[in-house]
């Protein structure tokens, strides 16, 4: 017996020793997992604030982009969208998206629009004249087109190639108009990241995953809940 113990063929383990060993293994596993996760997060935050594995210089250049679209366990494909009713037009969509210019664009609900001559989504507050002169326009990139329809109605359309999703026009329209201008994630541009960089920073928590077959969220029409 003494010889057997000497060579370690049978090593008696006490109950206390087993618990301590298990605890130690658990702690080490946790430490490893947390350290790895923290490292990835630190590394990814270092790449223009995006979530990525750290290998890519840019999320848009990810070599495993096919794995990025969110697919919940149910199998129904979900996409990111922002709720215009929650949006506070903070300007974060323009700067936080991994796509530049942002995949968030201003969209116009013509059913809600008043076709006003004085559009507070188009004109700077206190504009001297109601013309399309650059100094009168609220949009920093001139992405809104103003077209005369008939006296005194004008149509406003968005040039999405110029829109950066800053939401200035949306803020003006919501504050003083019918709220027909609103921000939406354009799904032909969105990479549908697993964790949307804008959603992570959205102060109004306006972003959520919505079913891909109903990818846009609009506000109710005037007279159906709008002031």
């Amino acid at each position: 017996m003494a010889g057997i113990e000497k060579y370690g063929a049978v090593k008696l383990v006490t109950r206390r020793g087993f618990v301590v060993g298990a605890l130690r293994a658990l702690c080490l596993t946790l430490l490893g997992w947390l350290g790895g996760a923290a490292f990835l997060r630190w590394k990814c935050l270092g790449v223009d604030g995006t979530w990525a594995c750290g290998a890519c210089p840019d999320r848009a250049a990810c070599r495993f982009a096919a794995a990025l679209p969110s697919k919940p366990a149910s199998g129904r494909r979900m996409v990111w969208q922002l709720d215009p009713k929650k949006c506070i037009q903070c300007g974060g969509c323009a700067v936080n998206c991994v796509r530049q210019p942002s995949a968030v664009k201003c969209v116009h609900s013509f059913e809600m629009c008043g076709y006003c001559r004085l559009c507070f989504g188009f004109f700077q507050p206190g504009a001297k004249t109601l013309t399309s002169a650059a100094e009168n326009q609220l949009c920093p990139t001139g992405a809104i087109r103003r077209k005369f329809i008939e006296e005194p109605y004008y149509e406003y359309t968005i040039d999405e190639s110029l829109c950066i999703g800053c939401g200035r026009c949306v803020k003006g329209c919501a504050a003083f108009g019918n709220g027909s201008l609103m921000l939406q994630v354009r799904h032909d541009l969105c990479l549908n990241c697993n964790e949307c960089a804008i959603a992570r920073r959205c102060p109004a928590s306006a972003f959520s995953l919505v079913p891909a077959d109903r990818p846009y969220l609009f506000k109710p029409q005037a007279g159906k809940g709008q002031p």
Binding site: V20, L23, R24, C27, L30, L31, L34, G35, A37, A38, R41, G49, I88, Q89, C90, G91, G92, A94, V95, C113, G114, Y115, C116, R117, L118, C119, F120, P125, G126, L138, P140, E150, E151, P152, Y153, C166, G167, R168, K171, G172, A175, F176, G177, N178, R200, R201, P203, A204, A222, G223, Q226, P227
Partner: protein, 322 residues
Amino acid sequence: MKTFLNTALAAGAVAVLIAAMYFLFSRPCREPACSAGYDAAALKRTDPALVLESSLKIIRPRMTNLAAIAVDRGGNIYAGSDAGVEILDSNGTHVASFTAVGPVRCLAVTPDNLVLAGGGDSVAVYAGDGALEKTFCTGAPESMITSVVGASNFVFAADCARRVIWRFDRAGGAPLVIGERDGDQRKAGFVVPSVSFDLAAAADGSLWAVNPGEHRLEHFSGDGRFISSWGKAGLAAPEFCGCCNPAHIALGPGGSFVTSEKHIVRIKVYDKSGVFKGVVCGAEDWPGEAAAPDIAVDPAGRVLALDRRANAIRIYTLATPW
């Protein structure tokens, strides 16, 4: 020694776990980012120098979901809701109530104390005790009555969907359309971008109507002839801003005007020529509100404003005589 090491390791792991959970799952920014360079809140501040001195009294009708208010010549207050109309005396004491045939969206009381309740495409006329006397219908599809007033000979109803004013005789017949856009576009008609389109009847039987898209008040004779207008678009206090303001108007003693605006929610007073006199209450008094309160002026000159959120009526008594 071994136990000490195990304890230290466990404590360290827990500390790292807490720190890492905080680091991983806390949102990096919970504060609003720098705004998009457009401070709408600054535009909503009211200059205290423009605020008229007044005292405030709040009364609470029993009915809920209030949508409109009106005052009769005796100072009684009428509040319309989805359920019907409630009548209160000038102190806010409940007097009576009756059920309406449909939701009440606008309300008026004629000089002979008939209650006019508008909603949808019709105006229901009730006797003072709530008995339905007759109903005026525009007969036009898609009509949406947003305001109704009763003059001595006629009843006028503003139709925001068709952007016209309907005039009926007291029997509900002979409808006349006022302010229609003409075919050759010499008259642009009313510009009504939203459901804000209000009327007020003057003591002489003429009619004041808001042209909300043009930010002005227009004066019509009883037979629908345009007489004059005043009002200007802008952000300054004497002006009307937004897509469609003023949303509501009421006539005060001596023909002066009280206006109620949405978005920058404020109630203002103008003299009979349209010269700005001051602000009764500004956006600061309506926090979180975007819709314009319906307003009325009682014979004593008090300004009544409907606070839909609180289901109450605010009564402002101005210190300065009208």
